[in-house]
């Protein structure tokens, strides 16, 4: 029953968040200076009737609230309008590019999980030793590398100098695509590996110092069992919370990596569309990122009690 109420509550909060986000996303475009129609014309001399007709075609002649309602009605039917720059349905424009970004995020996410967790766990179990220090220093150094610098260094070394990986494009077919996305996903993963690694380490270290761990150890349980059952399982809460933030971070950071590697993903599309006042595309992408973020966090909230029973029972149980 409590789980059900929790889920319903979460769902309500989720819908409210999305609604508020849609308002923000839509109306923020009126704060940006510049006329989309002037941009459509791109400095060309139009016929006077054409300006009026083109304005009407894109519904830009209506009052803002009516534009919002039309847009919202469309969005609820899966129609995000038409892109001004591509003269194409927004769903088509985004649909063409979404697979690359998803693939990139999945590959980077896997690297982050594997490398970040491993680094964090190894460091915490060797707390204070040379290995711990090396991991911490390594993570700090990596954390100082912005994605665009990482991208450029990776291209320079592995694509241009060594020629092991392609320097641009997303490839054709599954395996070629994975091959093309290796360097970009590393560039994207770097900063987040650091985050996950550090959170994992500190969370584990905190648990290792807890009484129940000492009790378990003194009862003669094997070290591996103690770490798996008592330490890691109790450490997972903060790691999950950070992972939720990661999803939005990855989607946003992908724009830099995609631009550097010439990938046609939604990140580079977002940057381009902002620059070209292509509001329907910007609105759709931002809404998509917000939705992904909100949904992932809601799922994590729902999942957390199962992984870590303490959070369902309240913070008292130790």
């Amino acid at each position: 029953m409590t789980t059900f109420r929790r889920v319903v509550g979460k769902l309500g909060a989720l819908l409210l968040t999305l609604f508020l986000a849609s308002l923000l996303v839509f109306f923020s475009r009126f704060l940006v200076p510049g006329d989309p129609v002037a941009f459509l014309l791109r400095g060309r001399k139009p016929s006077p009737e054409a300006v009026a007709l083109v304005t009407a075609q894109y519904g830009l002649d209506l009052p803002p609230w009516q534009q919002y309602l039309n847009w919202l009605a469309g969005v609820l039917h899966g129609d995000f309008g038409r892109s001004l720059q591509y003269r194409q349905d927004v769903t088509q424009v985004i649909g063409d590019r979404l697979p690359v970004t998803l693939m990139l995020v999945i590959m980077a996410g896997t690297m982050i999980a594997v490398v970040g967790l491993t680094a964090g766990i190894v460091a915490s179990l060797n707390r204070g030793k040379v290995l711990d220090r090396s991991v911490l220093i390594g993570l700090t150094v990596l954390g100082a590398i912005p994605s665009f610098v990482g991208s450029i260094v990776l291209i320079a070394i592995f694509a241009v100098q060594l020629g092991w990986f392609p320097s641009f494009g997303s490839g054709e077919g599954f395996f070629d695509q994975v091959y093309h996305l290796v360097l970009p996903s590393i560039a994207l993963a770097i900063v987040f590996v650091v985050l996950v690694g550090k959170v994992t380490r500190s969370s584990m270290v905190e648990q290792l110092g807890r009484e129940h761990v000492e009790v378990a150890t003194s009862r003669g349980l094997k070290r591996g069992t103690v770490i798996r059952r008592h330490v890691f399982r109790n450490s997972i809460g903060p790691i999950l919370t950070v992972s939720g933030v990661l999803v939005a971070g990855l989607l946003v950071a992908s724009s830099i990596v995609e631009a550097a590697f010439g990938l046609a993903g939604i990140g580079s599309l977002l940057v381009q569309s902002v620059d070209r006042l292509d509001f329907p595309v910007v609105q759709a992408i931002v809404l998509l990122v917000v939705t992904a973020f909100v949904v992932v966090n809601a799922v994590i909230d729902v999942l957390e009690p199962w992984v870590d029973p303490r959070s369902a029972a309240g913070a008292g149980a130790r």
Partner: protein, 546 residues
């Protein structure tokens, strides 16, 4: 049709890290600048191919907005479209105009143009070209719902009618020599009427594609990544039958990535090489760096005639204070020439010798002279006046133009405020009068799309859309309007030369320099003709195996 160089939308985020890459890849950015001036010559053709080739790849600085000829108005769009769709007239690499899909054109009365459509031409879907296709394609430019970028070519058109099995007659509201000259560009492209009707709003986008008559047909457009064309086997003109089975255009927004791909041989060629990369690519063993005919002139646009620059003496002084030789070296690495007029000789097709002398020799030279310039500013009582110069982080040379203009102004007692805006806001300067409020100066590189210098000067008539400073000279207007009605190119050139002299004396914009069209051709391929006509001529068809 006013054409503006809007090609440089570079990912600025990446640019900040460029230095790292240059060091790591051993590029020459940190080497000392050469002190000798750059030497180059214009290439008019490259060796004919030794044979056909399966495919080649081409680097484009950006993705086309559209392959719909009604909107194709920029380097990225037109360099692709030129190989797929053909116009009534053909603009050749030497900028001459010859028959295209129209086998012949006659001009029975000053108001009418009669096009005899070529027989035996087929669209890529195999259907034959008819007069109805011509009428449908041309009428689209006039349709306000389409909102074509080429409307200004058609602004004097009254009707477009089929007057025979393979004959179309265009009637104008008065004599207009410029209409037929525009038929060599995108404004004269002919598409299948059935395809236009079938594709509707999706015509020309990445899913709709196009169905034209050119040597290559549209095969695939991978959004954000590439466009692939394939040879059309039933192409009508044996002279321009494609030598390559396929061409793939790769969109590489990052200039550094583009240059790397050319240097490593990953990509076979590309137009419009970033100036920084020209010296590197000239020494590359992966291919040839070539220079071709261009029509573009770099100008500082005077966008406010109400301010201090409304005084001719201040405009003259500013131009005299610009170290234009220095700008050529800094912005173009020396690959360019200083000019005092707003057109290149290449567009004066059919001009008389007298007209050329008047237009290019019998003019004022604004040699670098700070002292004389200072005096002019004092005479005008403008010393201490403040000007606003707008620029954008579009490519490295933009910064050179901004800094050089500010330095010139400061040297002669003016103050300059440089305002840096986003590339998009910069684009708005060209279309939105409200974006130009309070702006005195900005930079443009202006190319012409027809073989006639009048295209440039028609833009500066009183009240024209692209007359950004609302400069007005009734005598100039009268000369340009009269020239437009003259059919004979030699006779017309004499009038146009008068217009050029007035612009040279009055300086509605400050002409700075002209630069050649740049091209890199990899070592696998040959046959291309380096010329800015690549925007309208099927240049890729002539490329084959080296």
């Amino acid at each position: 049709m006013p054409s503006r160089r809007g090609h440089r939308r570079v990912a600025t985020i990446v640019a900040a890290g460029l230095g790292v890459a240059l060091v790591l890849t051993g590029c020459s950015a940190s080497e000392p600048e050469k002190t000798t001036p750059a030497e180059w010559e214009l290439t008019t053709s490259t060796a004919a191919p030794s044979g056909d080739i399966d495919s080649f790849t081409w680097a484009s600085y950006a993705e086309p907005y559209s392959l719909d000829y009604a909107y194709a108005f920029d380097y990225a769009d037109n360099q692709v479209l030129a190989n797929v769709c053909e116009s009534l007239m053909r603009l050749n690499p030497d900028f001459s105009l010859s028959p295209g899909l129209a086998e012949s054109v006659t001009h029975p009365t000053p108001e009418t143009w009669v096009y005899e459509i070529r027989d035996g031409v087929t669209f890529h879907d195999g259907t034959p070209l008819t007069a109805a296709d011509v009428v449908a394609s041309m009428s689209r430019i006039l349709d306000p719902a389409v909102g074509s970028s080429w409307y200004s070519v058609y602004q004097n058109v009254v009707s477009i009618e089929q007057t025979g099995d393979l004959q179309v007659t265009v009637t104008m509201n008065g004599p207009d020599s410029q209409f037929n000259l525009g038929m060599g560009g995108s404004a004269g492209v002919i598409e299948s009427a059935a395809t236009l009707a079938e594709k509707g709003a999706d015509y020309g986008n990445s899913t709709g594609g196009v169905n034209c008559t050119g040597p290559f047909s549209f095969k695939e457009w991978k959004s954000g990544e590439s466009v692939t064309l394939e040879r059309y086997d039933d192409y009508w003109d044996p002279e321009l039958k494609a030598r390559s089975g396929e061409v793939k255009f790769l969109f590489m927004n990052d200039a550094n990535a583009r240059v790397n791909a050319l240097k490593s041989g990953d990509v076979d060629g590309g137009w419009m090489i970033p100036a920084d990369a020209v010296p590197q690519l000239r020494t590359s063993d992966q291919g040839d760096m070539l220079f071709g005919l261009n029509t573009a002139v770099s100008n500082i646009v005077i966008s406010n005639m109400e301010g201090p620059l409304g005084d001719l003496r201040v405009r003259q002084a500013l131009l005299m204070a610009l170290d234009r030789e220095g700008i050529v070296d800094a912005a173009l690495k020396g690959y360019g020439d200083v000019t005092d007029v707003m057109t290149t000789k290449s567009v004066w097709v059919g001009a008389s010798d007298d007209a050329l002398n008047a237009a290019f020799d019998d003019i004022t030279d604004y040699d670098y002279d700070i002292e004389a310039a200072k005096k002019l500013v004092e005479e005008a009582g403008a010393t201490g006046a403040e000007l606003t110069y707008v620029t954008a982080p579009i490519s490295s040379d933009f910064n050179v133009y901004a800094q050089a203009t500010a330095a010139a102004a400061t040297a002669i007692g003016l103050k300059v405020k440089i305002e840096t805006v986003t590339p998009n806001a910069y684009t708005a300067l060209f279309s939105d009068p409200s974006a130009r409020e309070g702006v005195d100066l900005f930079y443009t590189s202006w190319y012409l799309s027809s073989p006639d210098p009048l295209e440039m000067y028609s833009v500066l008539r009183t009240g024209d859309f692209s007359n950004y400073g609302n400069w007005s000279d009734p005598e100039f207007d009268a000369i340009v309007n009269e020239a437009a009605t003259i059919q004979d190119p030699a006779e017309r050139s004499a009038k146009t030369a008068e217009a050029q002299q007035i612009a040279n004396a009055q300086l509605p914009w400050l002409p700075m320099l002209e630069a050649p069209t740049t091209l890199f051709m990899g070592k696998r391929i040959t046959g291309v003709t380096p010329s800015v006509a690549f925007l309208y001529f099927p240049w890729a068809a002539t490329i084959g195996a080296r």
